[in-house]
Amino acid sequence: MAKLLNEDATKQIKEVLQGMVNKVTMIVFTKKGKCNTCKETKQLLQEVKPLNDKINVLEKDLEDDLDEAKKYNVTLAPTIIILDKDDKYQGLKFTGIPAGHEINSFLSAILTMSGKNIEIDDKTIEKIKNIDKAVDIKVFITLSCPHCPGAVATSHALAYLNDNVEATMIEAQTFMDLAREYKVSGVPKIVINDKYEIVGNQPIDAYLKEIEKL
């Protein structure tokens, strides 16, 4: 099978992953039968795994491993979740393949879950830690969008810092029906608890402002 990552991308990804602190486990959920980008998503993880010995990859089936899927609130395939060194899920999720520009938010999520320090000021971290309601953040992206990885990384930072927050990147081209349901015609589009919306790669304060309204 032809490789997804060329020599240059492999080298660059390996360099970025040198910043990993602890081990992470990535679980990729796919499904049998017709599943757009499932095969490629699995392949991507298999190609990233050997680039750092702190990476572990598990492959699950959405139907055969239903309990596991339910545990992590996974309903669509392909979906990747990332667990920390203690196998704790902190709400960082990718639904659809994180290719194109989105490889950057994927690498950023791996580093974050490995324990690399997130650069956010103390005052903002305090605000994030004080979120006491369940928050579901969906970030619709396209793989050709250069502004999208920043929005995904911001929502993932919120999820990492507070167990009440779950943040999912949704690759809109694969999940176009879902994107249409949410009336997405421009990305990044961030939907919070299916109620409030933010458009564009906005600062974390813009997210907190919307979360406060919940």
Binding site: L4, I13, L107, M176, K183, V184, S185, G186
Partner: protein, 325 residues
Amino acid sequence: MFNFNVEKKSNSDIFDQVKKWDLLIIGGGPAGLNAGLYAKRKGLVVGIIAKEIGGQLHNTTTVDNYLGFNMIEGKDLSNTFLDHINQLDVPILSGTNVKAITNIKPDFQIETENGKKLISKTVLMATGGMPRKLGIPGEDKFANKGITYCATCDAPFFKDKEVIVAGGGNSAVEGVLDLVPWAKKITLVHRSQFRADEILLKKLETIDKLTIHLQTQILAILGDELVTGIQVLNKKTNKKHIINTDGLLIEIGTVPNSYLIKDLVKTNQKDEVIVDNNQMTSLLGMFASGDITEQPFKQIIIATAEGAKAALAVNQYLNQNYKGE
């Protein structure tokens, strides 16, 4: 089938170590990156702060007017620039915006969104521009509900749909070309005559699904939950009519990202920063280059050149006129 555009990272730890910078560059587009190159070669203690590296290059699919490259993708040109300055270890703090700039004479304090406070002897504003809005009824209501300002980001949402492109410059024509693989029908609407390069306009001649309305002003964007059409005025007949559409790509130029320094420096009526022959603003020690300035031709190569000019002028200023320590 899939590309992987890995953003090349540079070491940002140094931003916690340097007590006073010679030059901090705000913006990671062509002007900022080239200024970084020239300043580092002069031996200045220089750093770049940018939310996204590449600036508006990332909104451009192909660039075919940068000397030395017949045709190159915007993101590849950005990576080529970045590779060059990474070889010189120019520190880049990416992923964060600058929140405030204060003039603490003769120096500057720069505060970032992620809580860093940096001191620099000089500042170069190279923050470029953001998409200009039409400023007509319906534009805010249907933002992201059929209206887009980024063809490369949003073209997939217009698969098999009808799309209108507003504008008559190079960006609008490139927007049409970006939509061709996706849209069922494309209509270009512009209030006057084309301003785009002849070489680009020739490419439009072969697109069967394209209709062009020149001398046509868009008056309002119509719809219910999503965009369904636009109301236009045909300036030749002076008659109004409606053009139905599923989406609207607005490519009518940019407005300068000068909001951070509007109260510090002189700007023109369009909020563009006024600079002297050395790219210095009206505030001693603050420079500006690229699309943020009032120079009328917003081109990559001009922004790049202005970045170089500013870096050389900063070096001269620090050697001859800087009053601090």
